[in-house]
């Protein structure tokens, strides 16, 4: 009896050591629910290296991004323990934390502050921290800036025509007014001239994501945050006047967007860009850079640039890896979170074109080279975004109802974008919807 216990202890010691090339006979099973088709090959190799080092077996479950939230909630509510590591959107963190679906990792990170500090404070505030605790690590950021066709902005004929019409120099927009002017300026019909060449199809000033997806609010976040307001005020209510103003701003862009704007989300906008239909985006996810840059191959003379959104405010967020409360192997799951979110894997991830979350990776000079432009060219802009938005936080991500609000708010906004209701009505409907979801003013954590 004693003997077998002792040998079991020894085994445990050996396997936890990991440094010994100990035969792994009974791996610890953990399951990671993540986004379908998300750098699948990269993930497979990262998982493999983790399994080898820790005697674990990691099952990766791929779920369509639009279904990930409800699928995870169902498994959490059912306390099935099916998912050990979950993938959360920025707006979902507070809900999962507040309802005890995920475990705080504050204690785990107590001796790993360096790793935590490597995540930009801006991103950390939005994705990781809630009510004084740390809830995991982000491993991918889709923080927003803007994509523009730099070649159009630099074209001398266009510059001249623009100045003649608007009275100021054509350049990257720094206000939403300028953004609108540029969108209007570049909206042309088939047969019109662009850069001195006749167009073989209609051309639009801006690509918008006004489809029935929760992305129109990300575009509008840039506008409403740029105004110094927020979706929810300190009392947990929707500031109707401000939302109306932001909605108006958005509606003034709609005439210069392709009609498909009302049906698409970011992938549709990227398709329009790659098909040489649009001149720029509004606030847009910078992680799409490798996609956007393909425009240069498809459209003769095109040069893409990733810049900060006007007024230097845009959506900031990332996918958070967190450990489920119903996990049977939380220690292994925590290790896995630190592994995927850690510098070694993030570096490899970046080399494969992923939008890394660590400052050390984003500022690594090896990604600033011309060879890396096609895959990592947006890193410098991403750093600027984090810097410009230092100290910023949104109440939308501080309320446990954030996910539900986030999943509902595109409905009134899209109604207005499609012309069915006015900006005022949209703002009022949003306020009513939010009040219904929260059952009154929404609780905001500090």
């Amino acid at each position: 009896m004693r003997k077998s216990l002792a040998s079991a202890g020894l085994l445990a010691l050996l396997s936890s050591g990991g440094a010994f090339a100990q035969e792994c006979t009974d791996p610890v099973q953990i399951t990671w629910s993540t986004i379908a088709g998300f750098y699948t090959d990269a993930m497979a190799s990262f998982v493999k290296s983790f399994e080898d080092a820790n005697c674990a077996k990691v099952t990766v479950v791929n779920i369509d991004n639009s279904q990930l939230y409800n699928k995870q909630v169902i498994e959490m509510v059912g306390q099935t323990g099916a998912y050990d590591v979950v993938t959360l959107e920025t707006a979902e963190k507070a809900e999962f934390a507040e309802n005890g679906f995920i475990r705080p990792m504050t204690a785990f990170f107590a001796d790993k502050q360096d790793l935590l500090n490597d995540v930009s404070p801006t991103l950390r505030a939005m994705t990781v921290e809630y009510k004084g605790d740390v809830w995991g690590l982000p491993y991918y950021t889709y923080s927003a800036g803007m994509f523009v066709r730099q070649d159009l902005l630099d074209d001398p004929t266009e510059k001249e025509a623009f100045k003649a019409k608007y009275g100021y120099e054509l350049a990257a927009p720094t206000t939403w007014e300028q953004h609108r002017d540029i969108a209007e300026f570049f909206t042309r019909k088939q047969g019109d001239m662009l850069k001195g060449q006749p167009l073989d199809k209609d051309f639009y000033g801006v690509g918008l994501m006004a489809g029935p997806f929760p992305e129109i609010q990300d575009e509008m976040s840039a506008m409403i945050w740029g105004m110094g307001s927020d979706w929810l005020n300190a009392e947990g209510k929707v500031p109707v006047d401000d939302v109306e103003k932001a909605m108006d701003m958005y509606l003034r862009l709609m005439p210069f967007a392709p009609p498909a704007a009302l049906t698409v989300t970011y992938d549709g906008v990227m398709n329009q860009m790659k098909d040489c239909q649009i001149a720029m985006t509004a606030g847009f996810f910078l992680d799409q850079w490798p996609n956007a840059v393909k425009t240069e191959e498809n459209c003769p003379g095109a040069t893409m640039a990733a810049i900060e959104a006007p007024l230097k405010k845009a959506y900031v967020g990332g996918f958070l890896l967190a450990v489920s409360s119903s996990s049977a192997n939380p220690e292994m799951a925590e290790k896995f979170v630190a592994h995927i979110g850690g510098p070694e894997i993030q570096q490899q991830f970046a080399e494969m074109g992923g939008a890394s979350t660590l400052t050390s990776v984003l500022t690594n000079p090896m990604f600033a080279t011309p060879e890396k432009r096609a895959t990592n060219g947006q890193y410098a802009t991403l750093n600027q975004v984090f810097e410009s938005m230092a100290g910023f936080s949104s109440n939308l991500f501080k309320t446990p109802f954030g996910a539900k609000i986030y999943n509902t708010m595109q409905i009134p906004l899209q109604s207005a974008a499609s012309g069915q209701i006015s900006a005022r009505e949209a703002a009022e409907q949003l306020a009513a919807d939010v009040e219904k979801i929260c059952g009154g003013p929404c609780p905001i954590a500090n």
């Binding site: 379908a36 998300f38 099952t59 791929n62 169902i74 059912g78």
Partner: protein, 285 residues
């Protein structure tokens, strides 16, 4: 109805049939065409009809995404569900058609189970299977979450009403006199069923089987909630083609083409029965 028809009428008729078929087949044709397009020929305006065909989408779907795994799951689940639906459904339908069990009330009840919106009962289902999966019976029958049994039971449940209602009318079409004489010849009731009634109703059963299989094959909501990975079906599997870099249209088209193929083959095989079998019992001479 053997009236003489003029050539003009015939030409008009086939012209119309051609148009009708064009409308119904074109989207599928476009899907198959897309499955052979290289990536850069898909999201382009104007749409391209001519391009260099490629098989890379099929390679992606079958090799990279291991789509055959989902096909296998779907096949297992659909075929077993269909078999159970047809077996249970025929027995029950025969009983309704011949013995008038429940005087129509049970028949009404069965159809009414189809009227509850699936979304409202999906979470109760989830919780039931979670708990059943932990019991000994549940384990042996694979009734837990993410196991084939759970989906099979759900699909049987959802298709039984349709199958029973369809089959009742088929059975009523079979003359009773045949069964009576078989009984007089000394066959037991079960033997009559097996040797006389079911063979005569075979076309109707075939039609029911075809539709049931199609419905099981294409079901999405339950497959999505009740499975995670091990028992996922094609409709759920296709989701892994919706990526953060956009929908992989080519591979989706390839996967969809692959998943339609077994259905098409099955329908072609059943064609012979269906011609006779789509004769609804409710039509009486």
């Amino acid at each position: 109805m053997q009236r003489k028809t003029s050539v003009v009428v015939e030409i008009l008729r086939y012209g119309a049939i051609f148009l009708v078929l064009g409308f119904f087949v074109f989207p599928i044709f476009w899907m198959v065409l897309t499955s052979f397009k290289p990536e850069e020929a898909i999201m382009v305006s104007p749409p391209r009809f001519f391009f260099t065909p490629t098989t890379e989408n099929y390679v992606h779907a079958l090799h990279d995404k291991n789509f055959l795994f989902y096909i296998k799951n779907t096949l297992i689940i659909s075929v077993i569900s269909t078999a159970i639906v047809v077996a249970f459904g025929s027995l029950a339908a025969y009983s309704f058609a011949r013995y008038n069990v429940g005087d129509g009330h049970i028949l009404f009840f069965i159809l009414s189970t189809k009227m509850m919106p699936a979304i409202a009962v999906i979470l109760p289902y989830f919780l039931i299977f979670r708990d059943v999966g932990k019991t000994a019976v549940g384990k042996s029958l694979h009734l837990g979450l993410d196991q084939h049994g759970a989906l099979i039971v759900s699909y049987v449940m959802f298709n039984l009403p349709f199958a029973i209602w369809l089959l009742v009318s088929f059975f009523q079409d079979i003359p009773r006199s045949l069964e009576h004489s078989a009984r007089l010849d000394g066959l037991s009731r079960i033997q009559v069923l097996r040797r006389v009634t079911f063979p005569l109703a075979a076309p109707g059963i075939a039609v029911t089987a075809v539709f049931t299989l199609i419905f099981c094959w294409n079901e999405f909501l339950f497959a999505y909630i009740l499975t995670r990975k091990a028992a996922s079906t094609v409709t759920v599997g296709v989701e892994s083609f919706f990526t953060l870099q956009g929908i992989l249209w080519g591979p989706v088209a390839a996967a969809a083409t692959i998943s339609v193929a077994p259905m098409l083959i099955f329908v072609l095989v059943m064609q012979r029965y269906m011609v006779r079998g789509l004769t609804f019992g409710a039509v009486r001479g």
